[in-house]
Symmetry: C2
Subunit: 418 residues, 2 copies
Amino acid sequence: MDIKGYVIDMARRARAAARVLGGMDSGAKNRALGKMADALEGSIERLIVENAKDLEAGKAAGLNNAILDRLALNNTRIRQMAVGLREIAALPDPVGEITGIRRRPNGMQVGKMRVPIGVIGFIFESRPNVTADSAGLCLKAGNAVILKGGSEAINSNKAIIAILREAAVSENFPPDAIGFIDVTDRQAVMELLKLDDYIDVIIPRGGEGLIRAVTENSRIPVLKHFKGVCHVYVDGKADLKMASDICFNAKVQRPGTCNAMETMLVDREISPVFLPEMLARLKAAGVRIKGCVETRAVDPAVEPASPTDYHTEYLDLAMNCRVVGGMDEAMDHIAEFGSLHTETIVTGDYARAMRFLREVDSSAVMVNASTRLNDGFEFGLGAEIGIATTKLHARGPMGLEELTSLKFIVLGSGQLRM
Amino acid sequence: MDIKGYVIDMARRARAAARVLGGMDSGAKNRALGKMADALEGSIERLIVENAKDLEAGKAAGLNNAILDRLALNNTRIRQMAVGLREIAALPDPVGEITGIRRRPNGMQVGKMRVPIGVIGFIFESRPNVTADSAGLCLKAGNAVILKGGSEAINSNKAIIAILREAAVSENFPPDAIGFIDVTDRQAVMELLKLDDYIDVIIPRGGEGLIRAVTENSRIPVLKHFKGVCHVYVDGKADLKMASDICFNAKVQRPGTCNAMETMLVDREISPVFLPEMLARLKAAGVRIKGCVETRAVDPAVEPASPTDYHTEYLDLAMNCRVVGGMDEAMDHIAEFGSLHTETIVTGDYARAMRFLREVDSSAVMVNASTRLNDGFEFGLGAEIGIATTKLHARGPMGLEELTSLKFIVLGSGQLRM
């Protein structure tokens, strides 16, 4: 198979589809999303049959139960995918918004218009529901998309895409608006990353290996959705009950997510009072703890934490704990080991809260709230394609608006440059 | 010389400086900019001596007079650089702006805060005044910068940077806030482009060769300031006097700039009336014209235009002319040959004007105005670091605001994820 030709052809057709899609009005897009939701609900049996092939291959390949569980589709999960698409249809359309129009001294009016980005390449290692969500979000924002999912979900994804595409086409959308790379050969991704004439942005969502391979090889701008090494700093002026609840929630409520806490930083001023109870509470919930010398002095059962541990996203009931001499040391630690994802200070001190907000450089910086709240729904953006950890274009949860771009528009009446 | 070690060391120190710079208040930044302006004005003789070395080397290397003229510094030009820095000091500081704070159902307040990007790598092939402008803009936006100028200006740039840095340091800025790669070896740029742990964005401003080398080799996000293949479409419903003035201004007023018109697209409906006079007016101003068959039927002296010509940024009194069958053909031409820079429609038809604004995908899309007006000062942004032709983060003139980033902030009172 000519993989290079296959990918170039898909990208070229996506570019042409993007021009059509950019001119579609909200009504047409919402009707298509509704049809796509109906089509998923009408194909539950077919999807479960295709998904069973992936599950069988996964078992044969020795995937663990957690991964197999994430991969599995059932009646409820398929209905949830349909609900997700209907929720996207209900969101306001960001395309066409005009802002900041001002009249210049020469009489021309200058402002900005929100437009689709164009063609988005979305590369993910994740559950099949991400396939439907991301196709729906890209379509609503007026973008053509080329999806590349993990090889372990290839049959499920192929079926989902075929169903979504057929529904979109029945509403007069170009079939190439939703592209899907249905070969699992790694070369396909490498070829895709070269096509900066056709693709406007690559969004990789996954682990260290995927992100590194994409950033090293892409000629196309990349919006990384990288790991979350998130911190909670418990300040000397914290309400200790609130601090305990926030740390517990940030680690335990759902440890397998990118916005869960990986390292707890505790001000030396209160560590003798705070740490014994906190460590006991976490351990009682089954959390494995690594820590600094002072943490281990409180609880000798704590394993020693290495710099590698401080860089680690555990995605599990495991974490680091470090005692620090105040907020400057905490911010130094975050600057060195953080992944620009989500950081929280727990404090009752106004000046420290304001300094933390200003100086910590992460997609979301919080005062007195759980890191788990960094999320598109919790922030009121609606569905998200993921949480961006790059500093350009979009930081944090990427919803519909972040899948668009702003261009300048000028309303003139014959103005010339003098 | 260990170029790799030299570049890594500079980038690491810039990263440390960026954390200091991010905490500087507007007053301190403005005082430093004032000192930098004073220092340039106090070093006119020294700068002219250093500049003479570049001019001599340039002459020996056979650079043409246009390039030598752009390279030359004199009393007036150095004073203009100082004025530019004082204008940047007078602009409002974008850092710290908080927008869109909303209360969520659980009581937490969510909004965005504008913060510096961090460390910016700026690679340019241009006049020495760009060195002072870009250093001033980056400092005001709270970013550390690593500059890499063209080798033909190495002595002038070295002197400018030394003067600016000394002035900034006298106002307690870290010396590493303004980095400068003072080796001309190309390897230095290649090493720089790998340092995604230290540098947040690369801004290349220059020709095709530079842009291509940077995008193919960078692991760091790139905001291209690429060529401008700008179009004016003269619609069948245009005021022909206005159309003639706009086309003439867009090509002739300053042809060596990226926002000058390269191709004029003329609706067949009015080409028989419009073209003869227009071509004569352009030719009288010394413009060399290439054109399609229909253009050449009007004026047989017009040379035939090839697809390569339609892709060309002439930066000179030279252009293409093509007759099209209405606005759809014009927009197809722009989609195929444009560089996403600046496009204008001249029309009196409301629906066509609105369609052009919506559907043409460029950094600035205009109705009835000269492409030459796509400029930071004309748009009211103040000084600009260049005109971005990427679709992410910033399109069009990049001023202070575009040199910053938005992060989410959360003001909580103990909120947890349920």
